[in-house]
Symmetry: C2
Subunit: 322 residues, 2 copies
DNA sequence: CTGAAAGCGCTTACAG
DNA sequence: CTGAAAGCGCTTACAG
């Protein structure tokens, strides 16, 4: 038995395919009686709509693609989860592509996806201009697509202000790679807040967001003669590496140095000590980005960015300095 | 300017659409001269193939769907990453559906996906019989689809054997929810290995794989008069909860009790102490499941299961008993 | 090697 | 409210 097509239903119901199609998509335009006949024929044949055919006719794909820099990274999977929550009830498929293994150009193609949600700031803007696009978390220089972002500068300022409130005067900041948009924004917030609270300029150490660079930052800290008592690191991964390396050298956190991270990835709650950090609302970022993209596809969206609020999560890694 | 179609290329090149189509899919069947003309026309028009149309004609979708129980869970995202690695070069799109928010039936539909990779053991087998399917990690009772699995029983036995090698005699096991396939296999391995090494029957505590149930298991352990010195927990999450709760009560790991988890999720490496655990090769599980599915789609696959090797990762949470 | 034509399974503007 | 017909953009068996 082949899969029944709309013509099979039409024949059995004694109507045209046009009427069957209407009964499916705009039932109110079909008389109740005809509708009932068609419904019986559908049940009898076991007919199910072929979405590929409908989509071809409608010049759409019914799919949205999410471009992620690293599918294995939990930071992104939580955003994806938010995206899926919104897309699924809207009837869209969620396509996922890891930019390490897939050329983003593939999905700039209108015959693959109706729109893009880009979680990777390094995707060249030129490939994104063809399709409706929303960027999440990281802006893409030169691309005028709506973004779903956080205020990185204000978030960094929250961290430094918390140190100041606790009584820390000597602050250090481990940055991401210089030139990165997030790095510069968080650095600006760090310096602004320190200055606003009358603290000396923060000591800077360059990192690259990775665990290993956090360990290296710990080495740098250990070698300082006048060590900062409050260290703010631009990612939780770096904070993990930093604390782990210090503990290996007998340095206590927060006894000898208070530490604040950035992101609130899941594991940092379970560290000893639990990590004080800036929580990014990743699920919400995913939801909102999907909503914004759907709005664009429905023709009612402005071009503005959405800024989502962050939260300073207080845990055991920060305390009053000795 | 509308997007050029194959007819536009054909007109410009002065050939039929059939020839253009052939030049694209089987260039060797077109004369070199014609091919060159067509290539020039393609470049001039900026033509790109419409995959939706091709797929409709071929009665395929070009997409594979992965059904996951929880997209936000890093355990699954690492498998997904492996899947993407294989699917992308093969020209397939990866569709991802979270079974909490999406009805799996949607993707059992041939017009949505060519095949399924199921990471959720609770998907009813009835929805999976229609399309080529591979299950990963968790078998589905009543479904005769190839599985990409680990030997859970042997893995559990490795954990218990390690305890025995260290000199532990009194072993405890925190299970997953009873009735779950993984739970029963790991339990069987635990009991078999204990018996094989002449140890008394392990003390059992029922959990549900969650962090909270690990905490409850710690409470149960604390109340025991004759406490096991080696605790094997059927998930890393439970092991985290267990260790955290014990530490809160001043119990040292591994000083007072050695702990082994299961999965080797990323965070457990960074705990204090680092967690000794059974590593599941999640990336490889993803790769292999995708390869198996592609083999099925190409008509050359047997029905056998693939069993991937696990590894006991030794860290600081296990030691010789006092 | 190349073309005319049918067809994948739908949808919809148009006419009645 | 309903139908005949064209069309979404490809592909391919068949004939030459």
């Amino acid at each position: 038995m082949n899969r029944p097509r709309i013509t099979d239903v039409a024949r059995l119901a004694g109507v045209s395919t046009a009427t069957v199609s209407r009964a499916l998509s705009r039932p109110e335009r079909v008389s109740a009686e005809t509708r009932a006949t068609i419904e019986r024929a559908i049940a009898e044949t076991g007919y199910r709509l072929n979405h590929a055919a409908r989509n071809l006719r409608h010049q759409r794909t019914g799919s949205i693609v999410a471009l992620v820099p690293n599918l294995a990274n939990p930071y992104f999977s939580q955003i994806l989860s938010g995206i899926a929550t919104v897309l699924s009830p809207a009837g869209y498929n969620l396509l996922v592509a890891d930019t390490r293994t897939t050329n983003p150009l593939r999905y700039a193609d209108p015959s693959h996806a109706d729109g893009l949600i880009v979680l990777d700031g390094s995707v060249p803007p030129s490939v994104l201009i063809e399709r409706p696009t929303v960027v999440v978390s990281e802006q893409i220089p030169g691309l005028s697509a709506p973004g779903v972002l956080i205020d990185n500068e204000a978030a960094a300022a929250m961290a430094v202000t918390h140190f100041a409130d606790l009584g820390h005067r000597k602050i250090g900041h481990v940055t991401g790679p210089r030139g990165n948009v997030l790095t510069e924004q968080r650095l600006a917030g760090t310096e602004r807040a320190a200055s606003a609270r009358g603290l000396p300029a923060p000591v800077l150490i360059e990192g690259d967001f990775s665990l290993a660079s956090g360990r290296r930052a710990a080495q740098a800290w250990l070698e300082m003669t006048d060590r900062p008592t409050g260290m703010f690191l631009a990612s939780d991964e770096m904070a993990c590496g930093f604390i782990g390396e210090l503990q290996r050298h007998g340095i206590g956190v927060p006894r000898d140095v208070s530490v604040i991270g950035f992101d609130d990835i899941e594991m940092v709650e379970h560290l000893t000590p639990g990590l004080t950090t800036i929580r990014q609302p990743r699920g919400a970022m995913g939801c909102v980005s999907a909503e914004r993209l759907l709005a664009i596809l429905n023709g009612n969206d402005d071009e503005s960015d959405t800024i989502l609020p962050v939260e300073l999560i207080l845990r055991a890694s920060t305390a009053i300095p000795r």
